[in-house]
């Protein structure tokens, strides 16, 4: 073997090591910047933060975590066991209520988990330095689900830290009594931090120990099982049955297999190479990997537990364990590929050259030489796959959770305004909130209801909501905050249809800040509200309900109805002739006789009648599509609200409504035809006037709905009637 061959054999390994180290380091850096960014943000990043913070404060105040009676306010459910809550209470006892300490705690738990993953990998690769551990730890931190969840004051990452710590102890010393005892304690802590983390790691640990020493495995099962049941029994008795109700019964939500499919696809897309390789590992891994006996059960049971993500309201926290399993797998893979085919140290040629002297060729056995090259090729291939995974995951993290959090953080002043409104309203009565409920806890304002958990119980007919509905109807609450994500109407899971109906009947959304609607009691004495989509004295109906408020933008009104895509009906505002112009994808227009200018025509426009980014299956009724001059009557159904704004934009479920002038012959103005696309440049009022159109047209005059004089930016308007309607 000559010098050149030795150099390639040695330095191509250095290449793999360097590139892997760089991308692992980059992943860790991205994770840390994101974590620090989240820690520095004072307001809620997730609905669950409010719930956890509230439970912590209740514990600090000596209130029961698992009350047996939830038939009277406060209506609260504690979905999780108490370990995290106890530890958080200890920390918040020192600092007072805030999100910062909790987030630091969670970030530290995430880093701790990555370190333990590294230690597990190191145990199986003691000779291969830091790299396999760094790869496993870095990969765990950059998986978008882990990175996203590490920013929240929530329980899951502490639970996974406990579970992998237990796993590490039994992997390291399966026969030592101390390890078995400590592992059982860690598994119990994991299970009593979050119940679903009490399965995969203990099963994997038991099988691993079983392969080493059956007696120790039985010990582990008995210690974990019996102590776990005893603790459960004690808490159950102390809480007078409340514990079982809160963490088991109240957690049985409706199940949706589409959600499972969606997240399974996400895992597959993000970790596709590792999924394939794990398939191979499953088949032949027992021949090459010592880790097989613990990793296979850990992965499979984690996957089985992850299926519970199908429960309504579940999120990516159900995937954290399977992410840890894949991270361990990646590290073990790199460790193993460092030298897949074993070569005796005596037979390997000397690769440590003198600095200044080209070494002479060295005799080498052909088999050794071949194995060295096979090992190198395998290392390069596996490294390429892992590097590809790092790149995919880093990009996905930057595109999704990091960008989402950035957008959320950038809503800046909105949070302060919401907080001020909460503080003011709380002086008058209880405030209800969902996504931003943590703002209540931070300001020591008690919860009246935990909307999601209680609504799920009500929807399952396990909680009588009549008392709460009465309180809404009596306008007991000076402020109700309902979050409205642009992409998905989560509020439909957080509030029952009956609660929403009661809120829409008695409250009006007056402000829309940081994507949350501030509902305040309707003032029936001074303001009139649309009834059956009609405002008093207005000649036309309102095209669709907008219980979630309206946006005024460039003389168009986006009416936001409550419901999913394609569920909220859109009606003709008056008698007329409906046109669905061939170039339009998600809109229709109706030509009417102008009620204020007899003999003249005027147009009403209805846009956004399609799902986001797709108009192939739009929500316009079939018998209108592509047709013109179809007679319609006031109140005729023409389609349903959608999220479509244009080919590249989406927004809240809405319909876009406008009243437009007609050409002299009554036809739709050619210059306004691009209106189908929200982003299209339309003529200004001045240009329309120059073209001979009688503008501006008052939308208020025709429909009674309010409007704004502001141009160029979206203005939120409450769904109420303007006193100037019909004038």
């Amino acid at each position: 073997m000559n010098f050149a061959e030795k150099l390639f054999l040695k330095d191509l390994r250095l290449l793999c090591k360097t590139v892997l180290t760089f991308f692992s380091g980059l992943a860790i850096l991205i994770f840390l910047i994101h974590g620090l960014q989240a820690i520095g943000f004072n307001y809620p990043l997730d609905y669950g933060e409010g719930t956890v913070l509230n439970q912590t404060l209740r514990l600090m105040d000596g209130q029961p975590l698992y009350p047996t009676d939830i038939s009277s306010p406060p209506y609260l459910i504690s979905n999780y066991p108490p370990v995290f809550i106890f530890l958080s209470a200890a920390l918040l006892w020192l600092t007072g209520p805030n999100l910062l300490i909790g987030r630091v705690f969670v970030l530290a738990s995430t880093i701790g988990t990555a370190i333990v993953i590294g230690l597990i990998i190191k145990h199986f690769n003691p000779k291969h330095g830091y790299l396999p551990s760094l790869v496993g730890a870095g990969l765990f931190l950059i998986i978008p689900h882990v990175l996203q969840w590490s920013a929240y004051f929530r329980i899951d990452l502490l639970a996974i830290l406990f579970s992998v710590a237990g796993l590490y102890l039994v992997i390291k010393a399966p026969e030592a009594n101390r390890s078995i005892l400590l592992a059982a304690v860690f598994f119990l802590l994991a299970a009593y931090t979050r119940q679903s983390f009490g399965l995969a790691a203990p099963v994997a640990a038991t099988i691993w120990v079983w392969t080493k020493n059956r007696k120790q495995a039985i010990k582990l099962v008995l210690m974990y099982g019996i102590t776990g049941l005893v603790i459960f029994g004690v808490i159950h008795i102390l809480s007078q049955g409340g514990f079982f109700f809160h963490i088991i019964e109240a957690n049985v939500n409706p199940f949706n297999w589409h959600t499972v499919e969606h997240f399974a696809k996400q895992i597959y897309q993000n970790l596709s190479w590792l999924v394939y390789l794990f398939g191979v590992y499953l088949l032949v891994g027992w021949r090459f990997f010592r880790s097989y006996a613990f990793l296979v059960p850990y992965m499979l049971v984690s996957a089985a537990v992850a299926i519970t993500i199908g429960k309504v309201g579940s999120n990516v926290n159900y995937l954290l364990e399977i992410c840890a399993a894949f991270a361990i797998f990646a590290g073990l893979l790199i460790g193993k590929s460092w030298e897949l085919l074993p070569i005796s140290d005596d037979l390997i040629p000397d690769l440590d050259f003198e600095k200044d002297k080209i070494p002479p060729p060295e005799p080498i056995e052909p088999k050794v030489r071949r194995n060295m090259w096979i090992n190198l090729v395998i290392l390069i291939l596996i490294s390429a796959i892992i590097i590809n995974q790092f790149i995919t995951l880093s990009r996905e993290s930057l595109l999704s959770p990091i960008s989402n959090h950035r957008e959320r953080i950038q809503m800046g002043i909105g949070y302060r305004l919401i907080e001020n409104s909460i503080l003011e309203a709380s002086l008058e009565g209880p405030v209800l909130a969902d996504e931003y409920s943590a703002m209540l806890s931070v300001n020591r304002i008690p919860f009246y209801i935990q909307p999601f958990a209680i609504s799920q119980l009500a929807m399952a007919n396990r909680w009588d909501q009549r008392g709460f509905l009465n309180a809404i109807e009596e306008q007991t609450f000076p402020l109700i905050l309902i979050h409205h994500f642009p992409g998905f109407p989560v509020y439909l899971e957080r509030w029952t249809p009956e609660m929403l109906d009661a809120i829409f009947s008695n409250y009006v959304a007056n402000y829309f800040r940081a994507n949350s609607l501030s509902f305040e009691p309707k003032s029936f004495e001074f303001v009139s509200y649309p009834e059956e989509r009609v405002c008093p004295d207005a000649p036309w109906q309102i095209p669709s309900e907008a219980n979630l408020g309206m946006f005024w933008y460039n003389r168009q009104l986006l009416l936001m109805g409550a419901g999913h895509n394609g569920q909220v009906p859109v009606y003709a505002v008056a008698d007329g002739m409906l046109y669905q112009f061939p170039e339009w994808q998600a809109s229709v227009a109706i030509q009417h006789d102008d009620p204020f200018n007899p003999g003249q025509k005027i147009w009403s426009f209805y846009g956004g009648l399609a799902p986001a980014f797709s108009t192939e299956e739009n929500f316009i009724l079939d018998h209108f599509i592509g047709l013109k001059e179809v007679p319609v009557r006031a109140g005729d159904l023409i389609g349903y609200q959608g999220q479509w704004l244009g080919a590249t934009q989406q927004t809240w479920v809405h319909t876009r409504f406008a009243i437009l002038p007609a050409e002299k012959d009554g036809q739709f103005p050619e210059s306004l035809k691009p209106i189908d696309d929200f982003t299209a440049q339309l003529p200004t009022l001045e240009e329309l006037t120059n073209l001979g159109f009688d503008v501006p047209i008052s939308l208020t005059r025709y429909t009674g709905l309010p409007q704004s004089n502001i141009f160029g930016t979206k203005v939120f308007l409450p769904f109420q009637c303007s006193p100037e309607g019909g004038q």
Partner: protein, 118 residues
């Protein structure tokens, strides 16, 4: 060892030429990579802090980071290029020279991967 071809220190013109060409390519590629690396750093920065406002704090912070990164990369390029030349000149056609060349290309390859994907 008895093999004279490996013992003597006769200059090998071909290998010297290869070293010079490889060094030259690495310096040029290193220079050409500076802007793509800055772009990738800016894109990562933007994922965290982008702000639509052209006069916002995020914009100026982004510009500052880019300028500082430019300074650091320029220094590194100078060190790598001049230091590399010096090292190869002193140790031409020795294991240490080839190893340094290999390491140089490993760094460039890593940087290329980074700029392609970020």
């Amino acid at each position: 060892m008895g093999n004279k071809a490996y013992d003597n220190k006769r200059p090998n013109i071909l290998l010297n030429l290869v070293t010079i060409i490889l060094w030259l390519i690495s310096s040029i590629v290193g220079f050409l990579l500076i802007i793509p690396i800055l772009n990738s750093i800016t894109r990562i920065y933007a994922a965290f802090f982008a702000d639509p406002s052209p006069i916002g704090l995020a914009f100026f912070l982004g510009v500052s980071i880019r300028n500082i990164a430019l300074f650091i990369l320029a220094i590194l390029l100078l060190i790598g290029s001049i230091g590399g030349a010096e090292h190869h000149f002193r140790n031409i056609n020795t294991p240490t020279s080839w190893h340094v060349m290999f390491v140089t290309y490993i760094i460039l390859f890593t940087a290329i991967l980074f700029t392609i994907h970020f």
